[in-house]
């Protein structure tokens, strides 16, 4: 128990420290004192730049990290598969494709892109379930079908781009140039998704039982699966719309979180949200400061760390 409380305190402190570091570091440098006084001083010019450029980026990174990581936990619970992740089984690429489709062909309906992305993600999720379901869940088949669906939607997206569909800003797969409008979108939908996820912890816990056993205690297995999947798709879709496709977060973060706070979703979901927010913000901040003025996208850093970590996990599990 002390380990769990300690983990929560540690991650909260780390997240706060990273936020302050991210806000004060970069082409415009600020001391911590300047930053603290600047927070309450609207005349400071340096601070105005930070407010308009860096704060949106920080907020988007935090919400995207939390949303993608929690989406991973939810998908892993309903698919009873530790490798389920929105980026791997095609939900993110489905969302990215439909978003690009709307933006390219119906640019006047740009404001509908979160809904379009949700529909795309839901189609991908549904396809994965339908095609891999044969009298029950088969973990291996599910991942294979998911990879195929992912490849298909990525291909479709590339096809759209090569037909010249991609206007500038149609697929922003990074955290650069974020505005307060982006923050509004991801904070609104992201908060809804995260709150819903937190209320579903008990359902996620029951899903560790086999479907038959869960059914025998009067649990609506299918209903719960659909509801949880919908929340996972919402969280993934809104991240894709605002921050682009970031792979591996959904696998990496829940796994570390389980080591630290255990498998009970009551603690796992909130902890994963905090840890995901911290990791993406850290990746983004390192990406833009380490080789400054060059920028490495957070998604690239995640793949560089995530790839070896995934291999480690596969080798560790039998």
């Amino acid at each position: 128990m002390t380990k769990k409380i300690g983990s929560f305190i540690a991650i909260t402190v780390l997240l706060c420290m990273t936020i302050i570091y991210a806000a004060t570091t970069g082409s415009v440098q600020l001391s911590y004192m300047e930053f603290l006084t600047g927070l309450f001083d609207s005349t400071n010019e340096k601070m105005a730049a930070i407010r308009d450029l860096r704060f949106p980026r920080i907020f988007v990174a935090i919400f995207a990290g939390a949303a993608l990581s929690v989406a991973g936990v939810l998908l892993q619970a309903i698919m009873r598969n530790p490798l389920a992740d929105a980026g791997i089984i095609g939900i993110s690429s489905g969302a990215a494709f439909t978003k690009l489709f709307i933006v390219s062909f119906f640019p006047t309906y740009f404001f509908l892109s979160p809904i379009a992305a949700f529909v795309g993600g839901a189609i991908a999720c549904l396809l994965v379930f339908m095609l891999s379901w044969k009298s029950g869940l088969n973990p291996l088949k599910l991942i294979l079908v998911g990879i195929a669906i992912n490849a298909m939607f990525s291909g479709l997206t590339e096809a759209l781009i090569s037909f010249g569909a991609s206007s500038a800003g149609a697929i922003t797969s990074s955290l650069t140039l974020k505005t307060w409008d982006d923050v509004t979108v991801i904070a609104t939908y992201g908060s809804i998704g995260l709150v819903l996820a937190l209320t579903m912890y008990a359902w996620c816990n029951v899903l560790v039982l086999s479907d038959k056993t869960a059914k025998s205690i009067g649990f609506h297995v299918t209903g719960a699966r659909i509801a949880i999947a919908a929340v996972a798709v919402l969280l993934s879709a809104v991240s894709v719309v605002v921050a682009g496709v970031i792979s591996f977060v959904g696998i990496l973060v829940p796994h570390i979180a389980r080591r630290l706070v255990g498998h009970d979703h009551k603690l796992l979901i909130p902890f994963t949200a905090l840890l995901g927010a911290f990791i993406i913000l850290l990746a983004d901040t390192l990406g833009r400061t380490v080789l400054s003025p060059m920028e490495i996208p957070a998604s690239t850093i995640m793949v560089i760390i995530g790839g070896p970590f995934l291999i480690f996990l596969i080798r560790k599990d039998k």
């Binding site: 008990a202 029951v206 560790v208 039982l209 086999s210 038959k212 056993t213 059914k215 025998s216 205690i217 009067g218 649990f219 609506h220 389980r258 255990g262 498998h263 009970d264």
Partner: protein, 256 residues
């Protein structure tokens, strides 16, 4: 529970259950016997609502099984399946608490009644001392008892067990069958189980349902059902029977 002319087919051609009619008697131990693929599990899946009859009806307390809401049904009928993955990082107590699901709702907190039911279930299965332990740390026999405790926490009148002794060595097999007997005698639970061992079935059942090729071949008191001719017909095995004061009726399979 009454099963009335129930027919089930998993693929639409072969009849896995062929017009089966039987009744599970309240307060008795009923064992379903038969060779592999005879329809035992299918019959159990009809009772547990995992399979809908293509023809015929299954009723509990004069109501069709399909009329029950899931939680309502779970208050009347509990089942322990044969293979159960052990969830990681879960204590005995938490797993048994899942058995209270039929009585819970999204907003309701755990009640005194829930706690009492869990303690009772743990006491019945002799697991009170292990309640805080992780499932992974238990032996095979203990794990099987945990699943039974979870079903007991449902506080249903009927308890179904699908091959509860498979994968256990004989000490734990007997321990489990004694537990089932006690649950029946002390708490009046109606027991339905699928067994493979014919001698165990004779010794621990009030009523045996013997199945073959999707039909009920014979049913009734053990000594009436298990006879030389029936064993030869159903299993294709020659067996000798022996009965004495100390051991009761028992069977030794000889050859095929």
């Amino acid at each position: 529970m009454e099963i009335n002319q129930v027919t089930v087919s998993h693929d639409g051609t072969k009849r896995h259950l062929n017009s089966v009619t039987t009744a599970i008697q309240k307060g008795k131990v009923t064992t379903i016997l038969g060779p592999n693929g005879c329809g035992k599990s299918t019959l159990l899946s009809v009772m547990s609502r995992n399979n809908r009859p293509a023809e015929g009806q299954a009723r509990l307390e004069h109501r069709d099984l399909t009329d029950y809401k899931p939680k309502e049904f779970a208050k009347k009928f509990a089942i322990v399946y044969q293979q159960n993955d052990i969830p990681q990082d879960l204590t005995v107590e938490k797993l048994v608490m899942f058995g209270r699901m039929p009585y819970s709702s999204l907003l309701k907190k755990r009640t005194q009644e829930d706690e009492e039911a869990v303690i009772w279930a743990l006491a019945c299965t002799n697991l009170l001392e292990k309640r805080k332990q992780n499932l992974a740390a238990l032996s095979g026999g203990e794990r099987q008892r945990v699943w039974i405790a979870m079903a007991l926490a449902q506080k249903s009148e009927m308890l179904c067990l699908d091959e509860p002794t498979t994968y256990l060595d004989i000490y734990y097999q007997l321990e489990l069958l004694e537990l089932i007997k006690e649950l029946n005698e002390r708490y009046g639970l109606t027991i339905v189980m699928v067994l493979h061992d014919i001698n165990q079935a004779i010794r621990y059942s009030d009523h045996i349902i013997l199945m073959n090729e999707g039909r009920i071949v014979a049913e009734g008191e053990p000594r009436m059902v298990i006879t030389k001719a029936v064993i030869k017909e159903v299993y294709g095995v020659n067996a000798v029977f022996h009965e004495d004061e100390e051991l009761g009726l028992y069977m030794i399979p000889l050859n095929i």
